[in-house]
Symmetry: C2
Subunit: 340 residues, 2 copies
């Protein structure tokens, strides 16, 4: 699957940045591949990109309109369909990370075929996976895990892969969600795999590698998420991580969109993640904590960092503010590279 770049980011009727996290991730991680944004009138999110219609974006060289918002349930609302047809008419391909396939929208596949355009459903791997083996394989793996969905697991993994590479370590970002796949150009949307093959797909995603090579795997969901924890657990078992980083938003007290589901403490979350990880890697351990501190004042941020560093003996970072070098330091110390 080779997506057609650069992208026009479609924001639909998003009213929060959480809804538009796919678009924001593309803006932050592959800005050279993004020409602008386009939204419906009800949208109140602005990514600060040039506002372009599909025709204007095509005139500036865009290759695809990317659906950059994730509505609850994963379906593409009929209100968005006219924009998708307009993009095809303007000569753009379409890229979607929804569970619903673009081809399920009445007439869209025929219109794309008529205009010689392509429909990319990055959430559908288009291949079958095997059951997990649980067999140890060579190479090192780090998995970001979280207190909830949409809490920095992808951002942290991208930052770690970048900072490991900057220190001379061989490292690959391994995408497990639609935005990550759009950024990396490859990966497996692990939440769209048939349930029996979650761990097997995770094994396939990070194959055997050189002994000091790092796969930095994007985590999904949370072990205590009432809807998605099965995805999380299979991803942990198949990844067999040597190292884990816990991602958190200190202002999040309950699961997003599930106000009846409180979050556990960080210590309890770590305990559950280690129990799960030890099933396929007895040496799995935490190497850091990654926080979204964007809505905290400096005093609160510093206090939290100090308290949790003391409690857990691990570096506490905000990857947006600080990068991930302090966690890379731990990795280099505990897992020496031949080249360092």
């Amino acid at each position: 699957m080779q997506l057609t770049r650069p992208y026009l980011l479609f924001l639909g009727e998003a009213t929060s940045f959480l809804d538009a996290k796919t678009a924001a991730g593309l803006r932050d991680w592959c800005p050279a591949d993004v020409v602008g944004q386009y939204a419906l009138p009800a949208c109140s999110v602005d990514l600060g990109l040039p506002v372009l219609t599909p025709a204007e974006a095509a005139a500036r060289g865009a290759g695809s309109l990317v659906i950059g918002v994730a509505p609850v349930g994963g379906a593409i609302p009929p209100a968005w369909w006219p924009t998708l047809f307009a993009a095809l008419e303007a000569g753009l391909d379409l890229v979607s990370g929804m569970h619903t396939r673009l081809g399920d929208i009445p007439g869209l596949a025929a219109e794309a075929a008529r205009r010689g355009r392509q429909l990319f459903d990055v959430r559908h791997a288009g291949r079958h996976f095997s059951a997990g083996t649980g067999q140890k394989r060579s190479g090192r793996r780090l998995l970001t895990v979280g207190m909830d969905c949409a809490i920095g697991k992808k951002y942290t993994a991208l930052t770690l892969a970048r900072d490991l590479a900057a220190r001379g370590c061989a490292a690959d970002f391994r995408a497990t969600g639609q935005t990550g796949i759009m950024i990396a150009g490859r990966g497996v949307a692990i939440d769209a795999v048939v349930a029996d093959f979650i761990a097997g797909a995770a094994e396939w995603l990070s194959p055997a590698n050189a002994a000091d090579h790092w796969d930095v795997v994007e985590g999904q969901g949370a072990l205590f998420h009432p809807a998605y924890a099965g995805v999380t657990l299979g991803l942990i078992h198949g990844t067999q991580p040597d190292a884990l980083v816990l991602c958190h938003d200190p202002l999040r007290a309950t699961i997003d969109d599930y106000p009846h589901c409180p979050l556990p403490t960080l210590a309890e979350a770590m305990r559950q993640y280690l129990t799960a990880a030890h099933v396929t890697n007895a040496a799995a351990r935490f190497v850091g904590i990654s926080l979204d501190t964007s809505r905290l004042d400096a005093a609160r941020r510093d206090a939290l960092r100090r308290d949790w560093e003391a409690e857990f003996g691990l570096p506490v970072i905000d990857p947006v503010r600080d990068g991930a070098m302090r966690i890379v330091d731990v990795l280099l110390r505990e897992f020496p590279c031949a080249s360092n």
Copy 2:
């Protein structure tokens, strides 16, 4: 989905009873719906049923040939295809619980259409599910959980549903695997659901019900199974069980087919199951332990039962030998019914 009964059970080239557990389950739990067995020459399993060709079975009134064996990986081997065509020719429908669809076998769908016969893939629900809500719903739920796959979870659930009904409680067996669905005539093959919707499918399977009604839900996999634990965790979260029964084979020391994966202790397994169950039902608790003691002598069986009853304060049963009344006694005591 209404399957055409009675069944002719096809055993393929099975060489162990574990391979033929689907066929054995149908023989044990709906014997009036089974007319006979049929196998290829390499098969060494005998269920003690009349041996009938598809044509002979059709002459005795059979409605379907059921694939009663589960090969590793879930694919239907080409060596079996001639039998499937012969069954259609004899006038039988086909029923399969494989991941591979019957319609993927070259020419089979066309042959079925030509003869006016139906292909039933019970592992494929043919419907979409929503994400889990984690919202509490009325009615009571018991889930069987296990130390491994193929360790008595379905058998225990069927026995509990039967024994609850015998004591005057409203109770339904809720099938989550292919054999259970063939026995019950309905259900969801939870391991074939898209990973994001495991918990949602489990919520759909046991909907809100009368306050003292029991859904007895068939468990799947194990929380510490390196391939299938994601299915197990999503099923627990979606079922929101009030009561759990732990199923075990005392001679099983490692995960079946995964000799590098040792089983935890029963106490550790219970701790992990309760941690998972408490995410969506803080009152979840164990009410019994169900053992397969078929390969133990009487002294060993009695000693294990005595030791584990003392350690856990729960009834320890073998559902094949003893039924499940001692666990039903616990349920009636701890969850009084209006009618008892």
